[in-house]
Amino acid sequence: MANAFVRWFDERAPGMAPMYRKHMTEYYAPKNFNLWYYFGSLAILVLVNQIVTGIFLTMNYDPSAAGAFDSVQYIMRDVEWGWLIRYMHTTGASLFFVVVFLHMFRGIMYGSFKKPRELVWVLGMLIFLVLMAEAFMGYVLPWGNMSFWGAKVIVSLFGTIPVIGGHLVEWIMGDFLPADSTLNRFFALHVIALPLVLLLLVVLHLAALHEVGSNNPDGVDVKHGPKGNRWDALKPADGIPFHPYYTLKDLVGVGVFLIVAAFIIFFAPTFGGWFLEHDNSIAANNLLTPAQIKPVWYFTAFYAIVRMVPSFAGTAVWGVIAMFGSIAVLFALPWIDVGPVKSIRYRGTGYKVGLTVFVIAFLSLMLIGTDLTDVLFPKLFGADIDLTTWDNVFGRIMTLAYFGFFVFLWLYTHLGWEKTKPVPERVTTHD
């Protein structure tokens, strides 16, 4: 019976089984993946979670300025299991960025963006860009006071563009302030347009990856190594079938990740005000400005860059250019870092120092963006310091360090300053 069905199916869709083999049982991944390689599959898990919980939220959410805030409380109180679905969605949003940041850092550290994987990287960066838009619009939907003011501030960034800025802001919001029309269109984009784009990009990201094969912590291309493994005499000796080996390994990662996620969802859903902000428990109110307007934690590093770049020549557009530049420069990474050695394990000391400075700069910009420096600096350097000056000096140094990393990397690899270690012929470790 089962066999008859398989035969029936095979005759009508002969391409399905080979496709399954190509991407699962006969996709040979290097056997030396370490902890850093869990975050790609976890990102897919979170994406699925966001879509499924999102569908259920949509059933009870009211995308109007008059009803949005009330409908979120309706979901939290009157909808069966509504609180769980909402917390899965809000926790998922923050964890999406945790996972994606770590996934991107892995790509930088092990040179996964280098030839022949430039396309994989660029598609991944497009995913990141769409994800940021998706997260921003989702954040506006509960129509709390921070949703409102966050939307106002972020959309106003486009207002710094000379000549057309003012009109552009009105066009985006459909009003002079974030209003009913803004909420309607953000809802449409958040639940239909951007998820479709996101799914398409994820498929392309994976397809592009499976064409060239996965990188690994040694940065050695297993496809160019010796051939012949237990399953196939022509396939890489250091490769193992993605299924069942990595599907099972990733399943362990999924388990650990879900334990962390469940802990947050059930015991600390607001995460001390970091995942769900206190000011968003107040309904949107254009007469009540929150004490501090700042984006959710995952945008803070980029937002800090806007704040740190001073305006000159009569316009504040430079900060906005710098913020978009901080993401654009990542797109160009495969052409900035042209060092022949992929993995940090065999790269020059200059690279290791540079990457450390980059990480410190990114985290420091996050501290500034979250206003935590306003708490930290007085504790470290005394209560009577001039906070604005300290913030600006510290923030500008860190902004320069962020961009400086890429300038350094360009010089370091294009001018041949890097002294690399010998790269092994085959992958060295696995667990």
């Binding site: 609180w83 099972l248 005000g273």
Partner: protein
Amino acid sequence: MTKRLISTLLLSLGLLLGSASAWAEGPELPAAGNNLRDQASLQRGAHLFFNYCVGCHSLKYMRYSRIAQDLNLSEKDVMQNLNFTGAKFDDPVISHMPAELATKAFGKDPPDLSLEVSAKGADWVYAYLNSFYLDPKSPIGWNNTILPNAAMPFPLWELQGEQTAVMGKDGHAVEKLELSHPGTMTPAQYQQATRDLVNFLDYVSEPAALQRRHYGVWVILFLALFTFLAYLLKKEYWKDVH
């Protein structure tokens, strides 16, 4: 490498959790010390709310029936002892104070308190309820050190008594509050009463909090077992990878 990575990740998570939580800046407040698992405290808090607060403040997202269910009270208890407005059992808690009258009397419409603890924090509400003092310069006769020039006259004065401000040397800032006229409760009793009230409002701001902690334990136990089995399966499959 992996060990170092795990310790780095754990350390940064710890730092994140341990660092200042994201409340708007302000003076450090004493902990409210309320406990959602203390049902008696929640019941006492509900009584205080419905005797002293609901005259002006609504809980528009909270139904009487839900309070009964979560606080283990019967319909009769709630309808006789908590519901003084003639609302139906399934209705939300809406104050009978007309907005116009409130605005005339206090200068503003008393805010709905459904999400007060989510927005301000339990510690803030607790400190606020303990920081009223007599202020002849204020139009309502009362003032508050946590929320200066608060529009609310102190409704719990019978219980706490009257506090007066001891001014600092410069004569402007309030240095501390002194109980100049005792109320029907001792200071310790009053603190417990306000802790109960804050506890009730904490519950009201997120009724699901009572359930999620309960389910959370089982979910995490299940996931731990699942992860352990997945690990054994992975190990079994991977033993021939060299």
